[in-house]
Amino acid sequence: MSKISLIIPTFNRPHLLPRAVESARHAGSDVEVIVVDDASSDNTASVCAALRNIKYLRLDHNQGVAGARNVGLLESSGDFIAFLDDDDLRLPGSLDHQVSLLAAHPEAGFVAGGVLLADQNCVPTGEVAVPRGQSGDLFWKVLELDLHLIPGAIVVRKECFLEIGIFNRRLAGIDDWDMWTRIAEVRPVLVDPTPVCIYRVASPGSGQGSSAFGRHMHTAVKHQTRLFSLPRAQAASSTQRRAVRQRTRRRVADTLSWRAAEELPHGAFRFAASNFLIALRLNPFWAARPTHFRVLWRTLRQLIARHKDGGIHSRPVR
């Protein structure tokens, strides 16, 4: 079995990190765990000193997740690279399983696996997110944001970084999507439904990076025009590019409106409002269509009714 380097960028989460490292150790038979401490201001350094058999790198100044991942890449020695966020977990044996898939398909750039969604305490809720799609050329699907790829569920061949470069530090929050798109442009992608990681779903109050969801989606839509300069997108007809653009805007507007409606009953008014406003800016006609207003109105009415009853228990609204 080839060596796998698992890169864990971490920032101020010493209470979660040892659990992530432990899960990584059981995920494969020959795993090199690289923890990149992105200039944490707490006791992350001493926590890491107590962890055995890890490569610990500490940055002097905060570089962001992309910068930390790049430094991890610099020190990695495996033929396969996996990433794990410090609050997520890898399932036992999952790395070996994914590497065997990649070994069987030498032309594939990376393999994307299924994800068990979990609450704030990393207890799986029972929901499983599986990338919708068939293995093969997935460039357009990734570019359209149609394939939900979570870094923790992906194993990449190291050669890919030597073909298309490393993470772009300027794209905070979407640097991974930019990377997968660029890889998918030059190589086929493997999709495998087997769950490989436990993903702590962000909520507006959790202080996770992904609670800035709306802003990241907005950046992604803006950045997509730059990705259109990739040779394969350039070779396609302008009609196709326009269609991709329209579908992306719709999808993002839908996702943001839906997230807004979902979070509203939990009292996250600011989060809901900002998400819905971004959706309106991206695609006014699509986001402001009657269905959305009906959903919003119904949610608000329930909220008011509940407020009158004095109940504050949240209930997901669809």
Binding site: L57, R58, L59, D60, H61, Q63, G67, N70, V71, L73, L74, E75, S77, F161, L162, E163, I164, G165, I166, N168, R169, R170, R182, E185, V186, L230, P231
Partner: protein
């Protein structure tokens, strides 16, 4: 594992590349040569294939020098690193001597030396850069101007794992940005010995002007928005920062005026005006002041004479 990695980023210069690789090979007895071909459209892949004992990487998409160097960094594995451009040369034995210096000084992050200016054939023309070699803590010197010639630097890999890789957005001056960051945390060694030959870029077209202007703008932006916000600059106080900003502006405007004047002397009036205008926009006070000094006026006169003579012929 080799002691030092020489990273050569190249694009569409297959005729010059073998010369650079040969010079790199002669520069050290224990070096790993990494050539990163930035998606060249000429015969570079064949040329790389014919070169033995090198690690050759071909990018599928064009990424630019900074990103190509970053890829080279990831592919390399030596504890010491140096960059070489495909049109520059390393002098024989120069790398081993610099690596020895670094090994003897564990507190130092990088070592630089003198670069000889060369023509297209790689022959030194007698001039060299820089004129002075400050050592030790050169953080503030580097905030004034880039006194470190990129091909002469050897630095520790450990610097990158503490400070991060090259900043790809600083395209064109990503090396300067890295030296600033290294000098902030490490001391720097200098040798007055010549270690590399730097091909002097010859401005040929108007395109060069806009490129130069872009670099000046980028340097000004990085200086204001990034370097002056590094913890050491913040800790030094506002007065010190103002002083270094003034020195930076003075040096940059001097360079711009010189660029405008040299074009004027060569009879390229339009380009020269472009440079002068860009300079005045960026540093209104210092550039207009320099333009009005006597020496500049003299070169103006000479330039006009050359221009008229050319017109008459």
């Amino acid at each position: 594992m080799a002691k030092v990695s020489i990273i050569i980023a190249t694009r569409n210069r297959c005729s010059l590349l073998p010369r650079a690789v040969a010079s790199a090979r002669a520069a050290s007895n224990d070096a790993q040569i990494v050539v990163v071909d930035d998606a060249s459209e000429d015969q570079t892949p064949e040329v790389c294939g014919a070169l033995i004992d090198i690690k050759s990487i071909r990018l599928e998409r064009r990424l630019g020098v900074g990103a190509a160097r970053n890829v080279g960094l990831i592919a390399s594995d030596s504890p010491y690193i140096t960059f070489l451009d495909d049109d520059d040369l390393r002098l024989p034995g120069s790398l081993d001597a610099q690596v020895e210096l670094l090994e003897s000084r564990p507190d130092a992050g990088m070592v630089y030396g003198s670069a000889l200016f060369g023509d297209d054939e790689g022959h030194a023309n007698g001039n060299s850069y820089p004129a002075q070699f400050p050592q030790g803590d050169i953080f503030w010197e580097l905030l004034r101007w880039n006194l470190v010639p990129c091909p002469t630097v050897v630095f520790r890999r450990a610097c990158l794992t503490r400070l991060g890789l090259l900043e790809e957005e600083a395209s064109g001056i990503e090396d300067w940005d890295l030296w600033v960051r290294i000098a902030e945390s490490y001391s720097v060694i200098a040798t007055e010995r010549a270690v590399a030959v730097w091909r002097q870029s010859t401005p040929v077209s108007g395109q060069f002007t806009s490129h130069e202007e872009k670099l000046h703008r980028l340097a000004r932006r990085l200086h204001r928005e990034k370097w002056l916000h590094l913890p050491r600059a913040i800790a030094a106080g506002a007065a010190r920062r103002r002083k270094v900003s003034r020195a930076f502006a003075a040096h940059a405007s001097q360079q711009l005026v010189w660029a405008a004047a040299s074009r004027f002397k060569a009879g390229r009036i339009f380009e020269s005006a472009q440079v002068a205008l860009a300079g005045t926009r960026m540093y209104p006070l210092s550039v207009s002041k320099s333009i009005l000094t006597l020496s500049t006026l003299r070169s103006l006169k000479r330039g006009l004479e050359t221009y008229w003579r050319a017109e008459r012929i």
